[in-house]
């Protein structure tokens, strides 16, 4: 299948008096129809800016450039405001982390849902209200008709996020970008909302780009995943393959750092990644993870490292992938470190 979303060499640059910052520096990603791709990474790795670039909402003065940035065969580079309006909402919908700040506190749930539908479609007020009730039912909001007259503050966090999902679905988009959709929710609600997204995808075939820092969320819903570090994809592949055999040292480090009941020994020191993320000003020569990598060699500093294929659909950006560094202590030598 050809790529539905095709990103090559995406750069986001922020001009500053001290010189430009590049929080996204050359990112490649593809999404096919009907799949969930998870973008994983820590704060500041550029995952949210990547999402904003895909819906044309990167705030000024940031600048977006790319070799390719296309959606369903259409280039998104240099689109005008009118062209964006035909995409944003009807074709590409977005769900943000905090439903309280993305719903308008001054309008009822009903009027916000109806407004989206009537902006993008020729539909009567009555029909739109009926459709809003259907959508709320579908996303599991109890007594949906009564909810239409309520304001966002009258709903719990989980219900508000369900309303956001209903709004995202209201114009039957082909792509939903969900930026940390469950981070602000309680754990039981998180599991329910993730289950809902997966079920809606089965029913509608919508493609989902899920942005998260939680590898447990990735494991439970994503078909494929891309791990970002310092503005680049460092590893991408089928979720099961990446989690079972993480090839890039950063992916390996992240997985070692997570306590998992039944897998990690209780009370034993967890794995850690030493050091901190390089600032977005750092020169891009050589591997960006070099300073923190327990497997680093002088060759790692030599020049830019390409994303190299490892297996069909599985690629990574390390000159010493898993097979090359077998038998080295790596992170195991750091166990017990908390500094």
């Amino acid at each position: 299948m050809s790529a539905f979303v095709d990103i090559a060499g995406l750069k986001v640059t922020i001009p500053t008096p001290q010189g430009p910052l590049t929080p996204v520096r050359g990112l490649d990603l593809q999404v096919v129809k009907g799949e969930t791709l998870a973008i994983v990474g820590e704060s500041g790795c550029g995952k949210s800016l990547t999402a904003l670039a895909l819906i044309g909402l990167v705030p000024p003065p940031c600048r977006v450039s790319a070799e390719r940035l296309s959606f369903d065969g259409q280039s998104l580079l240099g689109l005008g405001a009118a062209a964006w309006r035909t995409l944003r909402g009807p074709r590409i919908a977005m769900i943000f982390q905090d439903p309280m700040t993305s719903l308008d506190p001054c309008y009822t749930i009903g009027s916000q849902l109806v407004e989206v539908m009537r902006t993008h479609r020729r539909i009567s007020e009555t029909a739109a209200r009926q459709r809003a009730i259907d959508l709320l039912t579908r996303v599991g909001v109890p007594s949906p008709a009564a909810r239409l007259g309520q304001y966002p503050h009258q709903l719990s966090g989980g219900l508000r996020q369900r309303v956001m999902i209903a709004m995202a679905l209201s114009c039957e988009p082909d792509l939903i970008i969900a930026d940390e959709p469950t981070t602000a929710l309680d754990v039981t609600t998180q599991a329910q909302v993730l289950g809902l997204l997966a079920q809606l995808q089965d029913e509608t075939g919508v493609a989902i780009i899920l942005i998260t820092h939680d590898l447990g969320v990735v494991a439970s819903v994503a078909h494929r995943m891309a791990v970002m570090y310092a503005g680049q994809v460092v590893e991408t592949g089928p979720t099961a393959a990446v989690l079972a055999r993480p090839s890039h040292p950063y992916t390996e480090g992240l997985l070692r750092a997570i306590p998992t009941p039944g897998l990690t020994a209780r009370g034993a020191p967890l794995g850690t990644i030493p050091g901190i993320v390089p600032p977005p000003t750092a020169a891009t020569d050589g591997c960006l993870f070099l300073a923190r990598c327990p497997y680093a060699r002088p060759a790692c500093a030599a020049g830019p490292i390409p994303l190299a294929p490892l297996a069909p659909g599985h690629a990574q950006r390390c000159i010493r992938p898993l097979a090359e560094r077998a038998g080295e202590p790596g992170y195991a030598a750091l166990v017990g470190a908390d500094g």
Binding site: E42, T188, D214, A219, A241, R256
Partner: protein
Amino acid sequence: MSAILEVAGATRDYEIRAGGQSATLRALRGIDLAVEAGEVLAIVGESGCGKTTLSRLCLGIEQPTRGRVALAGQPIDGYHRLDRARLVQPIFQDPYSSLNPRQSLGSIVAAPLTVRGDGTRASRRTRAAEMMAAVGLPPHLIDAYPAQVSGGQRQRVAIARALIGEPRLLVCDEPTSALDVSVQSQIINLIGRMRRQFDLTVLLISHNLAVVHHLADRVAVMYLGLIVESGPTEALYARPRHPYTRALLDAILPPIPGARPRRIDIGTEPPNPLEPPSGCPFRLRCPQASEICAAAMPVATETDGGFYHCHHPLPFPVA
């Protein structure tokens, strides 16, 4: 073993105004809890269950409406605040708001000593430097300000400040929730190491069941201002008896290939704490609820080193 912290029959009411009328929100509805010296006791539950209110009672920041809280055998409200601070110290969730942005890290860490007037300025600075080294902060940061360091380093500062006065009890309210994955593991390791090194007792408030499993010796599950189940960590995770505990455990998403989200069959919303249901607090969301659950609050039943409050407990699995 003796209990360093005891909470008996504690309730906490807040007078609030809702829709122009005043109402009483009962955040805690009768909590009994004993934290033994040297253990890590975790309190888990969803937002609004009262776990942060409970932590505030245990710090002596608030007093219970009814019932009592005792610290090291004495009523917590009987201590002078400086004496109380020698025994118990907090670590909060957000290291961005819990540190004074206009103080240097050295003076933040030394603050507990400064407040009680221990030692000289020079000796306090030496102690702060030692404490910063103990929590893995580089020495040159002693004159830095909070804005100049990372989130993980700020949380280390908060831990150093809490430990410099050698308290016996640490109350940690979501200490790793605001941190990135790789930093979270460093802080978990640090809390584990400090606990052994300083012979600490820890009350850990968290909604992250995986972190709790890793650090805690015992777990208490809260729902709507009540502890509905409590027990040793291994036993509780392996054999939960309360349906709410089961739901919380089912909601853990392990980062392992092929893990699918389990179906969480407990409805979408916790009840309004202003109008708590009769009988069992969980019955409105409970798949097993029956008439008796509405009629009477289930009494505590002992099991496996702990207890639960449920009329229809999950079966005790036979190995």
